[in-house]
């Protein structure tokens, strides 16, 4: 699982966040959510964004998703600036945002259906991803009949089934209990290893960032900016009780408090 993730070629980086600033104006107030943020991410990398609330990490994710335009600067995928939401970037929300009127299977099929694929092809894709997330038995349940962990698995499968090459995850496991969270973290790492998808993972848990990331981008608030970009030199699978794991975690915590 510790295969190296080489950058895609020598030309344009896979994903480049270039001098991105974001200002929200509410009433007469002017809030600078992001202040000249620069981050470059290689294909297949697992990058965690961490920081206190208000540091703009979710805003940055939403800009990458194309849900909001940056006030200045730009985000480039393969050198192409992002202008709108696209199926190459799939967001996994903390509150799932599954379509409640669709079964698990229909939710996963939503993306392929938009592309106009044939029914057989769609059935094959949804079947494959249902199996990957271990929910084949629950395929025909509606979201309200699924647990939080199951819903989040469906949400992940939904964007993967749509051929997303970048997985944008906004505190995806924040609403889950500790046991389910651990299980989903392990499953996410397996899926990541299998699909070579690039993951940008927003969290406020230092432990989670240390466990998951190839790199951890530490952000600070007021205005939101990048405070540090720290590689995690631990081999996978990582052991949360190992001394070197603790060293990395402590270093991150110190960085976060600065």
């Amino acid at each position: 699982m510790s295969e190296t993730k080489a950058a895609a070629g020598s030309g344009d980086p896979f994903l480049a966040i270039r001098d991105v600033s974001k200002v929200f104006e509410a009433g007469g107030d002017r809030i600078e959510a992001l202040h000249h943020v620069d981050v470059t991410i290689a294909k297949g990398e697992f990058v965690c964004l961490i920081g206190a609330s208000g540091c703009g990490k979710s805003t940055l994710l939403r800009i990458i998703a194309g849900f909001e335009p940056p006030t200045s600067g730009q985000v480039l995928v393969h050198g192409q600036p992002i202008k709108a939401p696209g199926s190459d970037r799939g967001m996994v929300f903390q509150d799932y945002a599954l379509f409640p009127w669709m079964t698990a299977r229909e939710n996963i099929a939503f993306g392929p259906r938009q592309k106009g694929l044939g029914n057989d092809r769609i059935r094959a894709i949804t079947g494959e991803y249902l199996e990957m997330i271990g929910l084949t038995r629950f395929a025909d349940r509606f979201p309200y009949q699924l647990s939080g962990g199951m819903k989040q698995r469906v949400a992940i499968a939904r964007v993967l089934a749509n051929d997303a090459s970048i997985l944008l995850m906004d505190e995806p496991f924040g609403a889950l209990d500790a046991l389910t969270r651990e299980q989903l973290q392990a499953e996410l790492l397996q899926i990541w290893a299998r699909t070579h998808v690039t993951v940008i993972f927003v969290t406020h848990s230092v432990e989670e960032a240390t466990l998951l990331g190839d790199r951890v981008v530490v952000m600070t608030a007021g205005p939101g900016r990048v405070e540090g970009d720290i590689p995690v030199p631990l081999v996978r699978p990582r052991d949360v009780s190992a001394p070197d794991f603790n060293d990395v975690r402590r270093g991150l915590t110190r960085r976060l408090k600065r």
């Binding site: 939401p85 967001m91 929300f93 945002a97 379509f99 409640p100 009127w101 592309k115 309200y144």
Partner: protein, 262 residues
């Protein structure tokens, strides 16, 4: 617990039964000639349904009148549905259309539907079309407003999720906006159905020869209060049964949403 369902049915029947007894006693005690006893109304209902009691112009005519009213109610209702839902979706989702139409609609809404009666008689003449128009107006607003409200209260994340999965334009309306607003739309449909049955009486008072509203008007003209009450009862039962049908459809369509199950 053990008698839950039985108790609900027993109580649900006991109350109207008490009312009927009370009605009977009140008529007997006051010796009024203006209100018939429940038994007299029952005889009228039997006559209206199968005939054989009075054998007059109303005997055994329930099907004719009921059918005429249902046609008008659902003519107006489906017109309201056909116009109200798409318009509500557009007003809720598209800012320009909201800015264009909302002020006008808000201004027209407080006008009671019954106030449109004289105008609708000028537009559509003395006939069933006038009744259909009134029913349409009465059902239109609850359907429109609830649809708009439904669209406005959809979690924006669902739109974002759909957009990132490659859904846009008119597909967004059909695949996301419409199903997400369905609970509110069904609210509007139920309210609209209620108003449609209220307004059919007004609509059929405009000089149409058939329909339950015209039966009530004839009863009034002839001072046959038993006929008036019979007409009222039939409308009540028909409206109730139609509401049950709508609830059944709603439970089926909204089976994904346990809190909207009635």
């Amino acid at each position: 617990m053990f008698a839950g369902r039985g108790q609900a049915v027993a109580l649900g029947i006991a109350f109207p039964l008490c009312l009927v007894v009370f009605w009977h006693l009140l008529v007997v005690v006051t010796r009024t000639q203006l209100i018939p006893t429940p038994y007299q109304v029952w005889r009228m209902m039997v006559d209206f349904t199968v005939g054989g009691v009075y054998d007059d112009a109303f005997s055994g005519t329930i099907a004719t009148h009921l059918l005429a009213s249902i046609q008008r109610v659902y003519g107006g209702f489906f017109l309201a549905l056909l116009l109200g839902v798409p318009l509500g979706l557009l007003i809720g989702r598209v800012k320009v259309i909201r800015q264009l139409l909302d002020p006008t609609l808000s201004l027209l809404r407080p006008v009671p539907v019954t106030a449109w009666l004289p105008l609708s008689m000028i537009f559509f003449g003395l006939g069933p079309r006038s009744a259909v128009f009134l029913v349409f107006l009465g059902a239109f607003y609850p359907i429109l407003l609830n649809t708009t409200f439904g669209v406005r209260s959809v979690d924006v994340r669902l739109f974002e999720a759909a957009a990132m999965l490659g859904c846009d334009g008119s597909r967004m309306f059909r695949q996301v906006v419409l199903p997400a607003s369905m609970p509110a739309i069904f609210n509007g449909i139920r309210l609209g159905n209620g108003f449609a049955w209220i307004l059919i009486v007004v609509g059929e008072m405009t000089g149409v020869p058939t329909g339950l509203g015209s039966v009530i008007m004839d009863g009034r003209t002839l001072s046959r209060t038993d006929l008036v009450i019979t007409g009222m009862a039939v409308i009540g039962i028909a409206g109730f049964l139609c509401d049950r049908v709508i609830v059944a459809i709603s439970n089926r369509v909204l089976r994904w949403s346990p809190q909207h199950r009635v």
